[in-house]
Assembly symmetry: C2
């Protein structure tokens, strides 16, 4: 039996966005389900001592150069948001609220949220914005608002982040194929090749 691919990402991560636009097609091509796991990378960084690329000397400047070029290379829209890094609590909690009952819809919402933020520059840190993006997908806005304040949902996101950390996740995107860890949007060709060849 083929195990699902695990795709860990942070909504504030543009390279996670790039990966989100490719990973399901890669999984489908090789008959693998892809499970999505948004995490709070800031909480991970607190434990690893890392800091956001954008706030790292020289690398931040490089990133503002690399990102638009990478986006055009992939053919995905990119608008640099005013909020970097965006507060990803609301979008991540919205995902986990849906994920239990309707995982396909949770993924569709995550895709819509990523595109709104990185494709259009919208501030998905705002609950009102998350609701506005969710409603056209057939999601109940009032139920969503309630869920975002639900302690059980908050805990679920904390647990998911801790579980990722326990598994060795330290960045976004971070992908597991069987026992193989792949870090970065620039490893997706290797993920694809690994699945095609059954390893090497």
């Amino acid at each position: 039996m083929s195990q699902p691919i695990d795709f860990y990402f942070e909504f504030a991560s543009p390279y996670g966005y790039f990966a989100s636009e490719r990973i399901d097609a890669i999984g489908a091509r090789h008959g693998r389900e892809v499970r999505w796991h948004p995490i709070m990378l800031g909480a991970v960084f607190k434990q690893t001592g890392a800091r956001p690329l954008m706030h790292t000397p020289l690398k931040g400047a490089y990133m503002t150069h690399d990102l638009p070029r990478f986006a055009r290379y992939l053919g995905v829209p990119l608008t640099m948001p005013a909020q970097m890094p965006v507060n990803s609590l609301a979008p991540s909690r919205a995902f986990y609220w849906l994920d239990d009952q309707r995982p396909g819809l949770a993924k569709a919402l995550a895709t819509a949220l990523y595109r709104a933020h990185w494709g259009e520059g919208r501030d998905i840190g705002e609950v009102a914005e998350v609701v506005q993006i969710a409603v056209p997908l057939g999601i109940d806005g009032d139920a969503l608002r309630a869920a975002l304040a639900d302690p059980a949902i908050k805990q679920k996101l904390k647990d998911a982040t801790q579980a990722a950390l326990d598994r060795g996740v330290f960045g976004s995107p971070f992908i597991f194929v069987d026992d193989q860890a792949f870090w970065g949007a620039d490893r997706l060709d290797q993920v694809d090749a690994w699945l095609a060849r059954g390893g090497w």
Copy 2:
């Protein structure tokens, strides 16, 4: 006129080694000369506050997992050296000593040194090892030994490292194609595509 491609690398960097095995073929395919520039990344890190990937929590462990897999993906030999990071003063100085008069030979020596270190695990931090690798290429061992102790050659490496830093180089490999900076062995496909399409 097509400008040369500038390829900056550190001998202690395995991803620099991976890039060194591909960059000249990419340049040749698009009619571009590639100029090689070994640098002392430790001196760069002192100014940027970065530290070697290998000594970064979690990323070090990931790297020992990613490197052999990446090497097999590219089809290049890899043996993890006992010395990480290796002291790259001697190989870098040997390069700049040759580069003035015989740039083709300097590149051939750099390739041989990289393969000895990352392909076979040899300690190219040792002058005797550098000489042993150089002599079969037709390089005079005594002249090389003398050059490695020559203050003018030492200064040349310092100047090359400072010039790289002034240009914004902060990692290895680091490649400039016209005004475009590309960081990482995982950007070589984009370098190739950039040259093929004349940008995008």
